[in-house]
């Protein structure tokens, strides 16, 4: 990888500024900083130079890539160390994650077509970005997803069937965010980046060494909330990784309708590093996210990772991409398919045999079946759920309306009984 050295210098200076600012920030906000949080800001970085993918004039900036679309492992001086210990078994694990996630996603799409789900937001094409980054997180890290992070949920151990409740229309969430440190899906674009920032500020205050990661899209990067989260996280040196999946589209709008500079370069203006990674390369996503999370753990503050990837399907099942984009684009990206790429690598390096792929196929089938059955068996919520959890402490009006609702429902039962 060639790195434009002037850009590199600039960005490493920005990285330093971020660290310095952080000391002032934490001293100013939390005068009684604990020993551990002091450690956070003084620990020296093991992370590579803040210089990331170089920006070449007139060309698309380079991506951090460890696996070519043909599945060839390429060296990367800065990030190789982050995947140095990876075994063939680990690689098969990443492959399995991606295949099962894709299968789950395909099943959900089919279930929507069959009327079992009201809507589905497919992640097709984004498996590497999600599995690579998701597998980089530690159990005590905290994840703030959008509505498309099914692969990250998988990595966090959230049962995939739990993800389907809101798309079926039986709930507005479906899991306890604290049991897997995986927050509920957020539909309002960009909101969760601020929640992640605040959570990370809390982590720092507590002197913990866990990190926080916030997912959002290229479209969401335009929201004021995202800009504000960048500001807050920089000022307070919050241990948060902003993981932007640039899948090239925000419904019908291409990334050019959101920004005129590559998204990862935005970070510079806020005083923290940004890096663009090949979002279809699971290994690179794993390495880069590990690096960014480690920076956070070491007290070096936020990082912006832009995973350059592609939404192969429609925005959601109610979208019709043929109205705004041609097939050629998708075909070009199919050649960079994240799953195919790792498969080629596994095969070429004899890290997986036919048996492995066959077993995985069977496992995929089983997962599909389990998801299908679970969705069909998912009961409609009790009517009184409308009034549940509106408040933590209760509310007289809700009690009154619940009682009226009960009486009204009972009047039907009486009427039926009378027939």
């Amino acid at each position: 990888m060639t790195v434009d050295s002037s850009a590199a210098r600039k960005r490493s200076a920005a990285g330093k500024a971020g660290t310095t600012g952080s000391k002032a920030g934490s001293a100013g906000t939390e005068s009684g900083a604990t020993g551990a949080s002091a450690k956070r800001t003084t620990s020296t970085t093991r992370a590579p130079r803040a210089a990331r993918a170089g920006a070449k004039k007139g060309a698309e900036p380079e991506l951090v890539q460890l696996l070519t679309p043909e599945g060839k492992r390429v060296k990367n001086a800065e990030y190789d160390s982050y995947v140095a210990g990876i075994t063939p078994e680990d690689l098969r694990g990443l492959y399995r994650d991606m295949v099962l996630t894709r299968r789950f996603d395909a099943e959900a799409t089919a279930l929507q077509r069959q009327g079992e789900l009201g809507l589905w937001a497919s992640l097709l094409g984004q498996e590497a970005a999600q599995i690579g980054s998701g597998r980089a997180t530690r159990a005590d890290d905290y994840v703030f997803p959008t509505y498309r992070e099914h692969g990250v949920a998988w990595c966090r151990g959230v049962d995939p069937t739990n993800l389907l409740g809101m798309f079926r229309g039986v709930n507005n969430g479906g899991w306890d965010p604290n049991s897997n440190n995986f927050h509920l899906y957020t539909i309002v674009i960009g909101s969760q980046t601020l929640h992640a920032t605040g959570y990370a500020m809390g982590v720092a205050k507590d002197g913990a060494d866990s990190a926080v990661i916030a997912y959002f899209g290229d479209g969401a990067s335009s929201q004021g909330d995202v800009a504000e989260s960048f500001t807050f996280s920089a000022v307070y040196n919050a241990p948060v990784v902003f993981f932007c999946q640039n899948n090239q589209w925000a419904i019908s709008e291409p990334t050019e309708k959101q920004t005129r500079v590559p998204l990862y370069q935005r970070a510079q203006g806020y005083g923290f590093p940004g890096v663009r990674v090949d979002g279809n390369d699971v290994l690179a996503c794993l390495a880069v996210t590990r690096w960014a999370l480690e920076r956070a753990r070491n007290g070096e503050g936020p990082t912006l990772v832009e995973a350059f990837t592609y939404r192969m399907g429609a925005h959601t099942t109610s979208d019709d991409p043929s109205r705004y984009r041609g097939d050629e684009e998708r075909q070009a990206w199919e050649a960079k398919d994240p799953i195919l790429r790792l498969r080629r690598h596994l095969e070429a390096s004899n890290h997986a045999d036919e048996g492995f792929f066959e077993e995985l196929e069977a496992e995929s089938e089983a997962l599909g079946k389990r998801v299908r059955e679970a969705v069909r068996a998912m009961p409609d919520p009790d009517h009184f759920a409308i009034f549940e959890n509106v408040y933590a402490d209760g509310h007289a009006l809700v009690d009154e309306e619940r009682a009226q609702f009960a009486a009204y429902q009972a009047s039907f039962a009486d009427a039926e009984g009378g027939h």
Binding site: V188, S222, S252, P381, H383
Partner: protein
């Protein structure tokens, strides 16, 4: 020239007419260009008017409304689209603190001819934030006008009038009625924007509604007629200002009023109507003004929305309660 068309198409035709008539009219929002909006309300407009008038914006609602304010300051008449009701809140600050107050703050020197289109309401089985009815939050703010058509013809004409208005108009489109067809006469003489209409005459009780609930109230009146009850149905059309005169006239005749809206009843527009009509018609009323609407709870997941939304039975139940006084 009368033609039968769906409400979404009627708004599209109306925008087209406004764009043709006045080069200062602009359409802005997320996906309004090539896609024609997620409901296709702006379908084909970019092809015909170009991308400097039909503007696909970045995904930033505060940006959309804030920039529209600036464009209005410069003499343009922006019609902005908020993709769904629940996504207006990033723009709420700009609407409430800036758009609503600019005319007053400038001592009337500055006009704000901005239309904010918001597809709103439930009944389409959507996920969170796609089914809300936040009209009261806007009607409460002085400086904003708030309207909601209930049929294609009104949608067509009210859009023309909203664009011509020098005040900011929050234009709530009942998304579950987008596909309902009605006769639209592009040469008609339309009713004024803020005038309520009697859409069915009756003598026993008045049902007052706007937007998505007007059709329901007409169905209720038809059902009640089979039981020998004569209900009058009002289409309020405008939430701010509210046409209390039409409601008063009707209530003086029927002596009973039930207000129906999808939004939560608590602190909703029905409360305002009930209070004012009680003041105006105290000696005419045979029963308290009743309200039917949403509960004091977040809009529920799709599989519960039937329970949450006013339906035929719930409105008939309120009608019976009123008549029982």
């Amino acid at each position: 020239m009368a033609e039968k068309m769906a409400m979404a198409k009627a708004i599209n035709e109306s925008l087209r007419r406004a764009l043709e008539a006045d080069p200062k009219v602009l359409v802005m929002g997320e996906d309004v260009g090539k896609l024609g909006g997620v409901f296709r309300v702006t379908d084909g407009l970019q092809k015909d008017f170009g991308d400097s008038r039909i503007i696909d914006t970045p995904l930033a609602e505060s940006g959309i409304v804030g920039a529209a304010i600036g464009l209005a300051l410069r003499g343009y008449r922006p019609v902005v689209e908020i993709q769904f009701d629940g996504f207006v809140f990033p723009a709420y600050d700009q609407i409430v603190t800036q758009l609503a107050k600019m005319h007053a703050r400038s001592l009337g020197k500055v006009k704000m001819p901005v239309v904010v289109r918001i597809p709103y309401g439930g009944g389409i089985g959507a996920v969170e934030h796609h089914s809300e009815s936040p009209e009261a939050l806007f009607a409460h703010v002085a400086g904003l006008k708030v309207v909601s058509p209930s049929n294609a013809s009104d949608a067509y004409w009210m859009m023309q009038q909203a664009i011509q208005s020098d005040d900011p108009v929050i234009y709530f489109e009942p998304k579950r009625r987008y596909w309902d067809k009605a006769e639209v006469d592009s040469e008609a003489i339309p009713a004024p924007l803020h005038k309520a209409q009697v859409v069915r005459e009756g003598t026993d009780l008045t049902l007052a509604a706007y937007g998505p609930m007007v059709k329901l109230c007409q169905e209720v009146a038809a059902a009640a007629a089979e039981e020998g009850k004569s209900l009058e149905v009002l289409d309020l059309r405008s939430v701010s200002p509210l046409d209390f005169d039409v409601i008063q006239t009707s209530v003086e005749k029927t002596r009973r009023l039930v207000v129906v809206h999808e939004a939560p009843v608590f602190f909703g527009s029905g409360g305002e109507i009930a209070a004012r009509i009680t003041e105006r018609c105290f000696y005419h009323l045979e029963a308290p003004v009743l309200r039917v609407g949403g509960y004091h709870a977040p809009y529920p997941p799709a599989r519960l929305e039937e329970e949450y939304l006013p339906d035929l039975d719930r409105v008939l139940d309120a009608v019976d309660r009123s008549l029982a006084y």
